[in-house]
């Protein structure tokens, strides 16, 4: 789960693009329900040829919605949101690019760098039982711990950040 580093030059497997939705961030943050709309729609579209399309769609929507809710809370008011899903075998890759301020970028970089290792599970449990409202870090931890996701950050143009999440939902048992 949750490997942090990704060797861009390593020539990993080729992910075939499946679907992409772009929106002005202003339009996206104008209504909370956009997170639900986009996650549900994209989940249905990409799950059609999975071995259990209904179950896959439910799981994918659950994970993707959390990421979109993270992007929704960005403090940067301008720019574009880009959601792209591609596939290699049993793994679906979400690339979520959205504008953010430098402090947020630093937060994401630190949060993603701490997702590896057994302590991630412990921190996740502490977050669940803690008094504070769920943080963006909890969302990332949950993806790593509960969905066996691998997350990392890639460069994006301007004031944007690209969060990349590999989700192996096809082989995930209950």
């Amino acid at each position: 789960m949750g490997a942090v580093h990704h060797d861009l030059a390593g020539g990993g497997p080729t992910f075939e693009p499946m679907i992409q939705i772009d929106m002005e961030i202003k339009a996206f943050v104008s209504a909370w329900r956009h997170c639900d709309y986009v996650s549900t729609y994209m989940a249905r579209m990409i799950s059609q040829n999975r071995s259990d399309s209904v179950r896959h769609s439910n799981l994918f929507s659950s994970a993707f919605n959390e990421l979109l809710e993270v992007a929704f809370r960005t403090r940067h008011a301008d720019g574009e949101l880009a959601c792209r899903v591609s596939r290699h075998g049993a793994t679906d890759r979400i690339e979520l690019t959205f504008p953010c301020v430098p402090e947020e970028r630093q937060f994401y970089e630190e949060a993603v760098s701490q997702l590896a290792g057994i302590e991630a599970r412990e921190r996740y449990l502490n977050s669940v039982s803690g008094d504070l409202a769920p943080s963006r870090e909890l969302v990332l931890l949950e993806l790593a711990v509960d969905y066996n996701a691998t997350l990392w950050i890639e460069d994006a143009d301007g004031d944007a950040i690209k969060l990349v999440v590999d989700l192996p939902l096809e082989g995930l048992q209950n």
Partner: protein, 392 residues
């Protein structure tokens, strides 16, 4: 405001009799205020109960972390404030994330346990859906298909439709329908992983397209409403202890104007000559045996009533008799032998039947096989077919 905003996205209820708080639907609030009434209901429930509070999330399709944290916090706090109180969270194996997510709570507070609902819900079906029953199911479908291929068009089957086969088992009916009638899409659902694995393997090996197999609970499906022209559910209502729950779901996913098609048996009407008396006695006992496990294999003639009560109109009912004269009599004999193995074997043992009863019980099946293979014999297995139209 769009129609989306007007739809109730989730519902919370408290059942005082069962001490059960349930929440269902899609719970993705932006702010916790949106959960106000549901939170108040849960707090109120905690304040009222003694012993155990059941928290039922088996129909919870989606819940974001903000909502999960809020409800979890209330439950965890209650555990700490009232150590004598226990919580049982009931999840569904069908909604993949619920058991995993809610399962974490039992690691945080020992007074919280998490149970998956589906495996407990259908007490008798384990006899029928796992293990070595697959070849017999295939043979049964082969024998009933000879009749159903002619019957189905009278109940809404035609090329190009979108159909669902609920409780599809090993998927052989869906495959036969695909080949014979070419619907544009078939969604086939079952809650036996073993059966679905088999169905998918067949689909891969024979390069069959157009069927989507999905794991699900027929009484609480994740499928969207009003999307199918025809919904089939064969030999299944009779093995659920509450068939009206399944029918409600079949109705929900059927398009207005579409039809729901069900087949069921009346086992005590299985017959044979010679040795009719012994055969009749045994199949009367089969009905009683299933009743013991809360299954009604006498449901066939009750189909009309069930469909009427579920709200269907233009109800059509017909019967057919699978006999030893349909194809190879040995097929018929093989099916009866498999029934004998399960009914006079594991099921009778589980009920606690003595050896004398089991010997007589088994004899009736052997006599049915004798009648099927006898050169002048006749053996029959009657099936009731019924369908109803969902009103426009």
């Amino acid at each position: 405001m769009s129609p989306y905003d007007l739809l109730p996205r989730f519902k919370a209820q408290y059942d005082a009799n069962n001490q059960e708080f349930s929440i269902s639907g899609v719970v993705r609030p932006q702010a916790i205020d949106e959960l106000g009434p549901s939170i108040a209901l849960l707090r109120d429930a905690i304040g009222r109960v003694r012993g155990v509070l059941y928290v039922n999330v088996r129909r919870l399709t989606q819940m974001n972390n903000a909502a999960f944290h809020t409800f979890s916090r209330i439950i965890i706090d209650a555990c700490r404030a009232r150590p004598e109180l226990k919580f049982v969270v009931i999840t569904s194996s069908v909604v993949g994330w619920t058991s995993r997510k809610f399962g974490r709570l039992s690691g945080i507070e020992p007074n919280i346990t998490v149970e998956e609902y589906d495996t407990e819900f259908y007490p008798g079906q384990g006899f029928l859906e796992e293990g070595g029953f697959v070849p017999i199911l295939r043979t049964q479908t082969k024998m009933t298909w000879r009749h159903e291929r002619a019957i189905l068009p009278r109940h809404g089957m035609r090329p190009g439709i979108v159909m669902a086969d609920i409780c599809c088992g090993i998927g052989d009916f869906a495959v036969l329908v695909q080949k014979e009638f070419q619907p544009s899409r078939i969604v086939a659902l079952d809650h036996s992983m073993t059966s679905l694995d088999y169905a998918r393997r067949v689909m891969r090996e024979f390069d069959i397209r157009g069927i989507e197999y999905t794991y699900g609970d027929a009484s609480e499906m994740l499928l969207d409403e009003t999307q199918f022209d025809l919904v089939t559910c064969r030999h299944s209502l009779q093995i659920f202890n509450r068939p009206e729950l399944i029918l409600r779901e079949l109705y929900r996913i059927c398009k207005p104007g579409g039809r729901v098609y069900i087949t069921n048996e009346k086992n005590s009407h299985c017959l044979g000559e010679p040795r009719a008396e012994s055969i009749r006695w045994t199949y009367d006992e089969v009905a009683k045996l299933f009743k013991h496990f809360e299954m009604d294999v006498e449901l066939g003639p009750k189909s009309r009533r069930y469909l009427v009560e579920a709200g269907f109109e233009d109800i059509r009912v017909e019967t057919f008799m699978v006999t030893n004269l349909d194809g190879d009599p040995q097929d018929f004999a093989d099916v009866i032998a498999a029934w004998a193995d399960v009914y006079a074997g594991e099921m009778a043992t589980r009920r606690g039947d003595g050896p004398e009863f089991v010997a007589r019980f088994r004899q009736g099946f052997e006599d049915h096989i004798f009648a099927a293979l006898h050169p002048k014999g006749y053996a029959g297995w009657p099936i009731w077919v019924a369908s109803g139209r969902r009103p426009q």
